[in-house]
């Protein structure tokens, strides 16, 4: 495979998907060979026993293709999940595996070239949302999504990230938000929405039990979310705050593959939570924010966090279950719920949003594939930010659209603002009549402020923190 065929490396023309523009992005100046070496060094650098196990275990059965929306919708074999990390697999076997010495000495594995890495940029970024659906089909149990995440570390170091994603991450590192929601903007937006919605939003309190964090997407596009979380926490009578020194939870360091930026972004929130002596760091409706803080935050910090970390949907479910959050059954229509991949399949939160919807009086019509088997909206993992990926993202979205339509539900709800952004964008593209609504906002619109009746605790609902994995 040479540089001249980068656009169509396997000769497969994707069904109905226009080819992406011939465009590969590079950051920084360095000789080609150095890029390759750096990519591989950093890829191999964070190699532990887990990643090595996965790298060694593939039997090339090809089943993972059938789980991936990008392959299913295009039929193009290059979108086979395990193929997306092929150069890194080669490099691992050549440089780091148990037989690396033989591989090199006998020339069994070629050195990866810069052309290959450039070609794979599209596979590692544009056509993988790290949704983890492929992980559930692999007969070997390989977590392919985790390997893509590692491959992105190498690509970032080598300066081979799609430009928009890189720029968003770099801006996040520099300004504190990938979308320009700087502390100053945050303050202005909060003042405005607090006034608009007539709600108290606590900013920069010195001490608080709950540190509320936001997604820049909410601050800039769905500011209603800020009012909604305030209404809920005020309703619960909690001591809480948003802090301008640690509010941004979407972690573009994680998405772009820059581990240092990921750490910086997480540490801001961790420090803010410690500074205000929070007992709980509440994450916004955002999927990768959950992965970054709930499942990686403590490891970035290097020790257990002195506070709990919860996604807003878990938090709502918990407080409905214990009777402290009382809702009006104001959503009495049929609703279908889109499970955000990082919160549900990869995060372990399945039942809490359903508890919330039931409490709102909604009749839930599940999609054919729900909970751990849900199909991704197509825009996660930073894909929504990459213009070049629009065509394939819309193609992938068609599955979601079909599944939502098939439920016949009147309303579509989710608990991830990045999913909402992706739904909004695709809705406009397809002139679709369904809008993805926020679970949190539905709750905030239906708070029951009448004094509690005597027996409030619904006995039958299980604790959503301890729920068994979905079948």
């Amino acid at each position: 495979m040479s540089a001249t065929v980068v656009n169509d490396p396997v000769g497969g023309v994707a069904r109905g998907v226009p080819r992406p523009d011939l465009r590969q992005d590079m950051q920084g100046e360095m000789p080609a060979q150095e890029r390759v070496d750096i990519a591989m060094r950093h890829f191999v650098r964070d190699f532990g026993a887990v990643a090595a196990t996965y790298m060694e275990s593939c039997v090339h059965c090809g089943m993972c293709a059938e789980a991936c929306h990008f392959y299913v919708q295009t039929g193009d074999p290059k979108y086979t999940p395990i193929w997306k990390i092929e150069p890194f697999k080669q490099a691992y076997k050549r440089e780091a595996g148990p037989f690396a010495l033989f591989m090199r000495a006998l020339g069994l594995k070629r050195k990866v070239t810069i052309e290959e890495l450039q070609e794979w940029q599209e596979l590692i970024y544009d056509s993988c949302t790290m949704c983890g659906r492929c992980t559930l089909i692999c007969p070997m149990g390989i977590d392919i999504a985790a390997l893509v995440s590692l491959a992105r570390h190498g690509m970032h170091k080598a300066g081979l990230v799609p430009h928009e994603l890189w720029a968003a991450a770099e801006r996040g590192e520099r300004e504190g938000s990938p979308l320009g929601a700087t502390p100053k903007v945050l303050k202005e937006r909060i003042e405005w929405i607090a006034d608009e919605d007539d709600v108290d939003i606590h900013l920069d309190k010195e001490h608080a039990d709950v540190l509320v964090t936001m997604s820049s997407i909410e601050i800039q596009k769905y500011p209603q979310a800020m009012a909604a979380v305030a209404k809920v926490l005020n309703h619960l009578g909690m001591s809480w705050t948003i802090r301008s020194d640690g509010y941004e939870a979407t972690n573009f360091g994680l998405l772009s593959g820059n581990a240092d930026w990921q750490r910086d972004m997480s540490m801001k929130m961790i420090k803010a939570a410690i500074a205000c002596k929070a007992k709980l760091l509440l994450l916004p409706e955002c999927g990768h924010a959950y992965t970054a803080m709930r499942w990686q935050g403590a490891n970035v910090y290097g020790q257990p966090l002195p506070f709990k970390v919860r996604h807003i949907s878990e938090f709502l479910g918990e407080h409905i279950t214990d009777g402290s959050l009382r809702l009006k059954k104001g959503l009495n229509k049929t609703v279908t719920f889109h499970d955000p991949c990082q919160v549900a399949r990869r995060g372990g939160v399945f039942e809490a949003p359903r508890v919330v919807l039931a409490a709102l009086g909604a009749e839930v019509h599940e999609m054919k594939d729900n909970r751990s088997m849900n199909w991704c909206c197509g825009g996660g993992g930073g894909v929504i930010s990459i213009h070049r990926a629009d065509a394939i993202r819309y193609k992938a979205f068609e599955i979601k659209m079909r599944q939502v339509e098939d439920t016949g539900a009147e309303m579509l709800v989710t608990s991830c603002s990045n999913c909402r952004l992706s739904f909004d964008d695709s809705q406009a593209h397809f002139h679709w009549d369904k809008t993805a609504h926020s679970l949190l906002e539905a709750v905030a619109d239906n708070l029951d402020d009448t004094p509690p009746a005597r027996s409030v605790a619904p006995a039958a609902i299980v604790n959503p923190y301890r729920e068994a994995p979905a079948p």
Binding site: S57, V59, M63, P77, T80, P98, D143, Q303, K308, A344
Partner: protein, 217 residues
Amino acid sequence: MDLLTLARGPILQWALVIFVVGTVWRLAGILLLRRKPDYTEPRSTHTWRGAANLIVKRTVPKREFAAQTAFGNTIGYVFHIGLAVVVFGFVPHILFIKSLTGLSWPGLPSGIVYVVGALTVAALVAALVRRISNPVMRLISNADDYFSWAVTIAPVITGLMAAAHWGGPYPTILAIHVLSVCLLLAWLPFGKLMHAFLVFIARGTTGALFARKGAST
């Protein structure tokens, strides 16, 4: 020493040595790597149960994936079970294992073993045809996949030839059969056939990590 004695003696011994050393080396090379401590608050501490669970559970594909994977899985099931039946059910094999280890168990009628052997060959051929004709599999396949296939089918074919007294003098064919088994043993640790061990480690790893998060497998 004639070929058969050579094959049954030193060559088989060497093959076993390579098999054991190679397997230990490869497993150690993976398992002795760093495992980062995980400081996140676990949703569940039943990680061992999660590991065991996935090791068993992933043997059958999830309902949602059953249709798309039915063909490949059926082929896979036929030749894996076929191999096990032939290796552990054929009376001469049991005698051989007994001579090595002292263990023995009742065998199957030879007729059944021959039928199963033929089915195994058919399934392995189907697997190869699929690998070459399915665009996804063709793209992701490499030399290891084809070599490992050949090394797997060789003992089955030569075994059937020996049993049928076909293709040459019996001792020669039997010697070739034993040599093909030696090749399989010696190659197993180095290529994808190592999945016979790694499948438990990989599934167990994911099962444990996901159980910790309460995520679904």
